[in-house]
């Protein structure tokens, strides 16, 4: 029982990590809660459905295209809504409310076009998992973990070594200082949206391969991402990834004792505990808020 729960936790955790990293990238560069990220996530799965099932594009082309689609959507939101709002010196609160609006619009557009029923991009029949250390794991689940880990490492490398990645980290750590050093904030933020939304799209496709999709899948997934970011410590990629895995494993170990229908309540219970007692997260540094 225990190894199985750990493996299930690892699978869920790898997907939470991807969402958390994407959300965290956008949050640290823009400093507002981009709720529409949840709908961008859902769009990834439905783009995959559109390209792969409806348009019959082969998988190796359809799935990357879907990731590009989700990424373009996130970038589009930044260009059409958030950037004009920032130009008007909108407060983070105004941006947040606008993003709630975008979330509602996108989620309902998806349900309008594809319907509310469960859609699947699985083509192979469900198989009994391979035995692995006393647990069972299906090839698809192995793919999920492997692809997630590759994406997490790739993102970390991009942030560490590329020019845009370095600019992004600079803006995240100190926007004013980054600006006087000649880093264009708008371009950097756009890059954060492109990268973050691509990660969200990819994680949705991975989850859809295992447990299908519905138009409302985005909100709970986003919330898990937010919890993972806060648990891991805001502004910290490794922290967000670790937070995702911790949360996934905690939820699935919780299922051992408590019925799975309480999953979300448990996740948010964890969130509240962190917000109250350790708002900087597991790995974050404590910052004293100074303001006048």
């Amino acid at each position: 029982m225990l190894p199985q729960l750990l493996i299930n936790g690892l699978i869920a955790g790898s997907v939470f990590s991807l969402i958390a990293i994407g959300f965290g990238l956008i949050y640290t560069t823009t400093r507002f809660f981009h709720f529409a990220h949840g709908a961008v996530y859902t769009s990834g799965a439905y783009f995959a459905y559109l390209f792969y099932i409806i348009l019959h594009i082969p998988a190796y082309l359809a799935f990357p295209l879907a990731v590009v689609g989700a990424s373009a959507l996130g970038a589009g939101m930044e260009l059409c809504v958030y950037r004009p709002l920032r130009r008007k010196n909108a407060t983070p609160m105004v941006l947040l409310i606008a993003s709630l609006g975008l979330f509602v619009i996108l989620q309902n557009l998806i349900s309008l076009f594809f319907g509310d029923d469960i859609k699947s991009i699985r083509t192979a029949p469900v198989e009994v998992g391979l035995p692995f250390l006393g647990a069972r794991i299906t090839p698809i689940q192995i793919t999920i973990i492997v692809v997630s880990v590759i994406l997490i490492i790739a993102t970390a490398l991009i942030l560490k070594f590329t020019r845009m990645g370095k600019a992004l980290r600079a803006v995240a750590s100190n926007p004013q200082l980054a600006k006087v050093s000649g880093i264009e904030p708008n371009r950097t933020i756009l890059f954060a949206f492109i990268l973050g939304s691509a990660l969200a799209g990819a994680s949705a496709i991975l989850i859809a391969l295992d447990i299908d999709m519905t138009p409302t899948m985005g909100f709970p997934a986003l919330m898990m991402g937010v919890v993972a970011v806060i648990v891991g410590g805001v502004g910290n990629i490794a922290g967000a990834a670790a937070g995702g895995f911790l949360l996934g494993i905690a939820l699935h170990l919780g299922v051992w004792q408590i019925s799975s229908k309480w999953q979300y309540a448990i996740a948010f219970g964890i969130l509240l505990v962190f917000l109250l007692f350790r708002p900087q997260g597991f790995f974050g540094k404590r910052v004293r808020r100074v303001s006048l």
Partner: protein
């Protein structure tokens, strides 16, 4: 005719919800997305009391308010210690937890099946059982809620609330215990919205958790934002418009399955457009 009355009764319910949320979000600047949870708590308390104990409506209403205020205390004390962004996240968390309790504690709330057959209210011999009488009851409650909120908003207490929103540190420097103001206004708003929930429960006579989701909270927030934060008339106007506009879709002959989505898209679009072009809402705050 009954259709029109039905819409007006809903407008009355949402006026109560919106003015109470306006006190919290508009006047004090605490954006909460847990308002539908307290609305739901009010509805559930009234429904459960009426179904199991057959207690009179007025008593149930008072107990619903007390219940919502008690729960709001549990939510407010930890959440209000957090700064803006994190306060929203905390209210999100409570909204999801409370919804999950309504949905999953089956033995108590009968879960997704909901509670049917909630008895209609009898108030000191006055049987409220048709559209007209509900319209009157709703009207009375909405006016009382409005006057109550107006009194709060335009008192010295209300001015401190605005002060907390504009500059919390300054308000503190002037010797105001801002935490106390934030907590009390959150309790008052949550108690008021329980009245809206009670009215909803006895009017529809059936409640289930799906009426008290995060979407409902966002809808209430849209009314306040579209109407105008920090202006109670704005919330009334917002409630009238946002409840009645989607009904037009029905007349356009749109099938129900599409209309539900279109309604949500409309709300979302309104939120985005108002944020871009008129962040103060239709009737902004008087300055």
């Amino acid at each position: 005719m009954n259709y029109l009355l039905h819409i007006i009764i809903f407008i009355e319910i949402y006026i109560i919800a919106a003015v109470s949320l306006n006190l919290i979000s508009g006047y004090t600047g605490l954006i909460s997305v847990a308002h539908a949870a307290f609305y739901g708590i009010g509805a559930y308390i009234v429904a459960l009391l009426a179904l199991h104990f057959h207690t009179p409506f007025m008593l149930n209403l008072v107990l619903a308010i007390i219940g919502a205020v008690a729960l709001a205390t549990v939510v407010a004390l930890p959440s209000l210690r957090l700064t803006e962004d994190y306060f929203i996240i905390a209210t999100f968390a409570f909204q999801v937890i409370i919804y999950s309790v309504m949905n999953n504690w089956v033995s108590f709330t009968s879960g997704p099946l909901g509670l049917p057959g909630i008895p209609q209210p009898v108030i000191f011999g006055w049987v409220v059982d048709n559209h007209i009488s509900f319209l009157v009851l709703g009207g009375i409650l909405a006016i009382l809620a409005y006057l109550f909120s107006w009194r709060i908003a335009n008192s010295p207490y209300g001015r401190v609330l605005k002060g907390v929103r504009e500059d919390e540190i300054l308000a503190e420097a002037l010797g105001k215990n801002t935490m106390r103001f934030k907590v009390t206004v959150f309790l008052v708003g949550s108690g008021l919205v329980a009245i809206a929930g009670s009215l909803y429960a006895v009017y529809i006579t059936f409640i289930d958790p799906s009426s008290f989701t995060i979407d409902e909270s966002i809808f209430m927030l849209s009314i306040v934002i579209v109407g105008g934060m920090g202006n109670l008339w704005g919330s009334v106007l917002g409630a009238v418009l946002l409840v009645s506009i989607p009904e037009i879709l029905r007349f356009l002959g749109m099938p129900n399955s599409i209309a539900a989505n279109m309604r949500q898209i409309l709300y979302g679009l309104l939120l985005v457009l108002f944020m871009v072009f008129r962040p103060r809402g239709m009737i902004g705050e008087k300055r």
